[in-house]
């Protein structure tokens, strides 16, 4: 599956819920199912600024694919984090840098998230792209 197809899958998953409450309940369930990140990465170094709740994110490159892990101390944020990692983890830095980030709008959650949280989302997305950029630069250097 491409990033686009994965986003589509999330959109379809959420389309069965009509009520906001069910959407949130599902998001909360997703959040509760994680620990996504190795405890050793839950430090200030991996903290993303711009979120009211704390979000830690770590990424590494394995066989040319970015493996993203993350966690949050707020469970709704954790649910969003789990969607993000599901969509973006396992793709190459090039694919991630080219991808459009649309699914949270379409599943009808972005409107429901407060601006500060939406900003946090922006920060999370920015962080994923930043990791991708760094990996891309590093691998370009190697191949030179």
């Amino acid at each position: 599956m491409t990033i686009q197809e994965k986003q589509q899958a999330v959109i379809e998953e959420f389309s069965i819920f009509e009520d906001w409450l069910d959407k949130y309940a599902y998001l909360i369930e997703l959040g509760k199912e994680l620990p996504l990140i190795d405890e050793k990465y839950k430090t200030n170094q991996f903290l993303i600024s711009g979120c009211q709740s704390r979000v830690w994110m770590h990424a590494e490159l394995k066989d040319g694919k970015m493996i993203i892990t993350a966690d949050s101390d707020a469970v709704i944020t954790k649910g969003i984090v789990s969607l993000l990692t599901r969509v973006f983890s396992g793709f190459s830095p090039d694919e991630i840098l080219e991808a459009d980030f649309v699914f949270l709008n379409t599943i009808g959650l972005k409107d429901h998230l407060s601006p500060t949280r939406a900003n946090g989302l922006q920060s999370m997305m920015k962080q994923i792209k930043l990791y991708a950029k760094v990996f891309q630069l590093k691998s370009n250097k190697k191949s030179e």
């Binding site: 909360i28 704390r54 709704i76």
Partner: protein, 405 residues
């Protein structure tokens, strides 16, 4: 006389709107209050009928605007029981008022001197003093609070020394709702001749404010937390201080005579008001304070105490909830945490149910952290809130907790 809340709510157009398809329950009054039509119409009237620059023109409108503006200053002075209108400086709000005093005190604070604040201060009454102390190599001392969120008066007594140059404290804590015994604190400071600045941001809409009675040297507040417009506020300063302190911004109405080699400055209060002032803001603030006066601050206090007591009792009965801030003297603010639930998750779900609360540090990180927390949920009340809204809030809260646990 008690307030007719149903009638009074009609003065606030925004309360009729829906949020996320639900009727709005606005419990974020400590962040900013909603505005009554009396204030909205006053600003509209100014721009429709009276707009002109003040203190300048000989023409009719300029004189009209000047009269209204200065009349508003007198009203504000009498509202907070200042000695005279000269003691009322208009600023952008509480934060600017505190910053003005902190920067004016630069020359009066030297290496090794001490500035006292309390452990419950909002960043706006903390950071200006911290930075001033850093710059002047002075020492910032923090008067502790007890586990209920009350100021430790014994500690305060011991902390006021011959080195103290300023004592800055909140009238009401924006996180804990604690009403500080400001009058008593001023008496202690007065014995050692130490000036006192009171951050009244959370007090003006909820308590009678009498700066002469309190005998404080400075008192700061914002209009927008008292049903007035944003971007306008007050710095009250005792005339003897304001006369003594130098101007801090230059240009506009604050000058008297100007040549290329020299400038003499205008009298109080103009000395501290450089540039064209926020006239519509000042008139809106006057309308807001008149609104409170008309309703009676005693009635407002009674009503908000009833809301606070009712909400406190309901939350106390809810499992897993811990109220943060249990001072005997408290007003209009109810902070709490829920065991095992992040405040932000609660705030998000409450919002879905139309209930507006604030979550996080509330711009007072040290006091929240002193309770071992990274945030609280804060419900804060205003004149238009009702007991039914408290019911809606508590039901929504229970529903949210069930979903999150």
């Amino acid at each position: 006389m008690s307030l007719n809340i149903g009638q009074l709510r009609k003065d606030f157009p925004i309360l009729a709107r829906k949020v996320n398809g639900k009727r709005l329950v606005y419990f974020d009054n400590a962040a900013t209050t909603q505005k009554p039509v009396q204030v909205i119409e006053r600003i509209k009237h100014y721009y429709t009928e009276e707009n002109s620059n003040v203190h300048r023109g000989v023409h009719h409108l300029s004189q009209l605007a000047t009269d209204k503006y200065e009349h508003a200053r007198q009203f504000v002075a009498s509202y907070i029981h200042a000695g005279s209108a000269k003691e009322i400086i208009f600023t952008r709000g509480t934060t600017e008022s505190v910053n003005v005093v902190a920067s004016l005190f630069q020359h009066l604070i030297g290496a090794g001197d001490e500035v006292l604040i309390t452990a419950m201060e909002h960043h706006s009454n903390l950071v200006p003093w911290q930075q001033l102390c850093r710059q002047q190599q002075a020492v910032l001392k923090v008067v502790p609070i007890n586990e209920k969120g009350e100021l430790d008066m014994t500690a305060l007594k011991n902390m006021i020394t011959s080195k103290t140059r300023m004592f800055a404290l909140a009238h009401v804590s924006n996180v804990l709702g604690t009403i500080n015994p400001v009058g008593e604190a001023v008496k202690l400071a007065r014995k050692k001749n130490i000036p006192v600045l009171v951050d009244g941001a959370q007090a003006v809409a909820h308590l009678p404010v009498d700066v002469t009675g309190l005998d404080c040297d400075f008192y700061a507040f914002s209009a927008h937390k008292a049903y007035g417009p944003m971007g306008i506020g007050v710095l009250y300063g005792k005339e003897e201080w304001l006369k003594k302190l130098p101007p801090y911004q230059f240009g506009g109405e604050m000058v008297d005579q100007v040549s290329f080699s020299e400038t003499t400055f205008n009298n109080l209060p103009y000395k501290f008001e450089a540039g064209t002032p926020n006239v519509s803001g000042v008139l809106g603030m006057e309308a807001a304070l008149k609104y409170i006066e008309e309703k009676g601050i005693g009635n407002v206090r009674d009503h908000e105490d009833e809301l606070l007591d009712f909400a406190t009792r309901k939350l106390s009965k809810t499992e897993g909830i811990k109220i943060i801030g249990e001072a005997r003297e408290k007003t209009a603010v109810l902070s709490f945490v829920v065991n095992g639930v992040h405040p932000y998750d609660l705030g998000t779900l409450l919002d879905q149910m139309g209930v507006a609360v604030r979550t996080g540090y509330h711009c007072a990180q040290p006091v929240v952290e002193s309770f071992g927390l990274t945030g609280t949920v804060r419900a804060s009340f205003g004149i238009y809130n009702t007991l039914e809204e408290v019911d809606v809030f508590v039901d929504a809260l229970k529903k949210s907790i069930a979903l999150l646990k």
